[in-house]
Symmetry: C2
Subunit: 109 residues, 2 copies
């Protein structure tokens, strides 16, 4: 659960508003503020184990939302295309311009 | 509830996977397949009033998800920028190319 901090942080950015207030605070303290489980427990007036269980459940919820909506995967795909278009435009050649237009046309939101 | 069919259809595309199976089917029959409340009731073995209530609750859920995640609003904003970039690239002038790059750079996902 505790590995892949970057992924969890991004899932939290995307789906955080769907968590309960307490779950979201718990996740933010752990992933954004880097607090320990004991510190989070103190803040939320729950045990260290309680903080761990809350993190685990919240984390599971975030993964579950991603499994249903795939926002992370979709945004990565769109981001890749936009980055590629930016690189193509920097070259400022007619043929890269055509490819850039094509890529933009393929972007689905 | 029944107005704004286009908006509801788009919300259903975005958040449909978060509804229950029955709610999703109900919404699809009403908004995509254009069935009447009586027909939906028959399909789902519930009353016409039951179909109406289910549509209303599902519709409320979709609006609630949008209120939390703002995907529709965010996608519209990104779509507008991409459309503008496409128009700028079609003009193929140096100054529009710079503006196109700037717009792409502003896109947040």
């Amino acid at each position: 659960m505790l590995e892949d901090v970057v992924r969890k942080g991004r899932l939290l950015d995307l789906y955080g508003p769907l968590l309960t207030e307490k779950q979201r605070r718990c996740m933010e303290m752990y992933f954004d503020m880097d607090l320990s489980l004991s510190e989070i427990g103190e803040e939320l007036h729950i045990s260290r184990q309680g903080a761990y269980d809350m993190l685990k459940r919240a984390s599971h919820s975030l993964e579950n939302y991603e499994q249903r909506l795939h926002l992370l995967a979709r945004y990565d795909a769109v981001r890749d295309k936009i980055d590629e278009v930016e690189r193509l435009l920097d070259r400022e050649e007619p043929q890269t311009l055509e490819r850039a237009k094509q890529l933009l046309h393929e972007i689905e939101l």
